[in-house]
Structure formats: C-alpha cells, structure tokens
C-alpha cells in the first residue's frame, strides 16, 4: 500500500507545494532515508578509496622491485664473468643478488622490500657463439601483499641487458 502511494505521489519528489490526501502523510515519513543513503553511499565510496589505495600501493612496490632488478642486471652486464658455462659462479651470483636487494655488491642491512631474500632473485646468463651474450635478472616466488589480494610474482619484473663485460673463465 505504501509503495503504491509512493509511486502515485510523484509530487513529493518534485517538491510540489500543494499535496492532498494520503500524499501529505507520506511527506512526514522521510526520517530514515538519510541514514540509509549514507550507509549505501559511504560503503561504495570507501570501497573505491580502498581500491585506489591498493592499486597505488601495489604499483609502488612493483616499481621499487623493477628499479632494483634493473640495477642488478646493469651491474651483472658490466662486471667480469668468471664461469666457463652459463651457470654463474657463486660469487658472481651473490654479488648480483646483493645489488638487487641492497643496492651494493656487499650485503646491506635493509632490503628493497620486506621479507625478500636472495632466493627470490633469479639470474640467467645466455651464451651465444660460445661467449656470454646477455644477462637476465628477475624476481620469482615473491608475494606482494595488498588489501584485497596477494600477488605472487613469478619471473616478474624481469630485465635483460646484453653482456658488455670481460669473459674471464676461471
């Protein structure tokens, strides 16, 4: 009955001055509507804000990782490569991993992101015509935590540079 009256009483929405009969009673029944509107509106708004935050935060973390990986790949492309095969020596691998994690060839105190370890940094050396031709550094098995979901990074971000250093097999 009440719903029927609302559909009939379109004058309420238009703010008509001259209402008669049952429509006049309905005008007094708008008490709860502000609260309901607030609940619906703020819920949507908060979800939008949280989503924006999540997107920005994740992009920020990813960008930090990308910068670190690029720095490590650049370092790896310049220093002498001391292994006869495409499996790098332990010292070479550790130095590259340290550059990615700490920005320096020696291990530092705080890594680029929390909970990231050397095992998350993968180094691939590619040979062509029997000499090292390129180095690839990537992040693998690291999880970016955010509000709504966690993103497991496998092989992302990844940076490849042509090898420009001196090949000096031990």
């Amino acid at each position: 009955m009440r719903r029927l009256m609302i559909t009939r009483c379109t004058g309420l929405l238009l703010g008509a001055d001259r209402l008669r009969g049952p429509c006049r009673r309905l005008r007094a029944q708008r008490k709860g509507s502000a609260l309901v509107e607030f609940a619906v509106g703020s819920g949507v708004l908060l979800a939008a804000f949280a989503g924006t935050f999540e997107l920005g935060y994740t992009l920020n973390q990813y960008n930090r990782l990308l910068t670190a990986v690029a720095q490590g790949a650049r370092y790896a492309s310049l220093i002498p490569y001391d292994s006869p095969t495409n499996t790098p020596s332990a010292a070479f691998l550790t130095a590259v991993q340290n550059v990615v994690l700490y920005g320096a060839p020696a291990a530092g105190a705080t890594a680029v992101l929390s909970d990231i370890t050397a095992s998350n940094v993968r180094l691939t050396v590619t040979f062509s015509n029997g000499v090292p031709s390129s180095v690839t550094v990537s992040i693998t098995g690291y999880t970016l935590y955010a509000l709504f979901g966690n993103h497991l990074l496998t092989g992302k971000p990844q940076v490849t540079y042509p090898y420009q250093g001196v090949w000096a097999p031990a």
Binding site: A34, F49, Q71, Y75, L78, I79, P80, V99, A104, P105
Partner: protein
C-alpha cells in the same frame, strides 16, 4: 548543518591528505630525477668531483650560481657523494640525498619531517 559538519570534516581531512600524498610523491620523484641526472653527469665526467656532483643536485649545474638558493629546501650537507671500492670491479659512484624537508598539512600530522633517503648507484667498473 549537522550533516555538513560530520561529512565535511571527514571530506576535508581526506582532501588535505590526498594533497599531502601527492606533494610528497612529487618531491620524491623530483629529487630522484635530480640525483639520477647528477650521478649520470658524474659518471660521464669525473666521479671523484664530489663538489660538482653535489652542485648538480642542488642547482642543476656544476658550479653554484652567485647567491643561488637550492630548490626544495636542500642544503649541501644533505647531499653525499662517494666512490667506494676504487680499483676493483665494484668501483661505483653513489649519490645520496637524505634528511631533506617534507612539509605536511594534514590535521594531527602537520609539520616538517625528514624524507626517506634517496640513493642512486652507478657502476663504473675496474677500467674506468
């Protein structure tokens, strides 16, 4: 009126907070760009020329201009230039900006803070 005071306070806190975040991100990116270009200039000319690299960060030119004031409230003590591991494969140029002022406007947070260090490393190598 009551609604305006309830919603308005929340709304304006949010807007001012957004301005602060934007301002801080802009400052960090601007400083990072300065440090990068200064480190690149140093690696291309003379990595041991700390004063010149410092001046590149502060003034975007290798010598300080007459009566010049650095942008973003920087001072020369905030810029450190070092070249560790000279003569080895790990010889590198490190330019770092730390302790630069970050000004916030948000309620309860307003004031001047010190920003997180911004560091750029350029590998130079043994044969530099």
């Amino acid at each position: 009126m009551v609604e305006l005071s309830l919603i308005g306070s929340l709304f304006f806190v949010l807007v001012i907070g957004l301005m602060d975040v934007g301002q801080t991100l802009f400052l960090q990116q601007a400083l990072l760009e300065r440090v990068r270009s200064a480190a690149r200039w140093g690696a291309a000319t003379d990595p041991t020329n700390s004063a010149g690299i410092q001046s590149m960060v502060l003034y975007l030119q290798p010598t300080a201009p007459e009566g010049g004031v650095p942008s973003f409230g920087l001072t020369s003590t905030m810029v450190s230039v070092s070249t560790p591991d000279a003569g080895t494969d790990n010889y590198r140029l490190v330019v770092q900006v730390s302790g630069y002022p970050v000004k916030l406007l948000s309620p309860y947070l307003a004031g001047s803070y010190k920003g997180a260090p911004i560091s750029v490393t350029v590998p130079l190598g043994q044969y530099y």
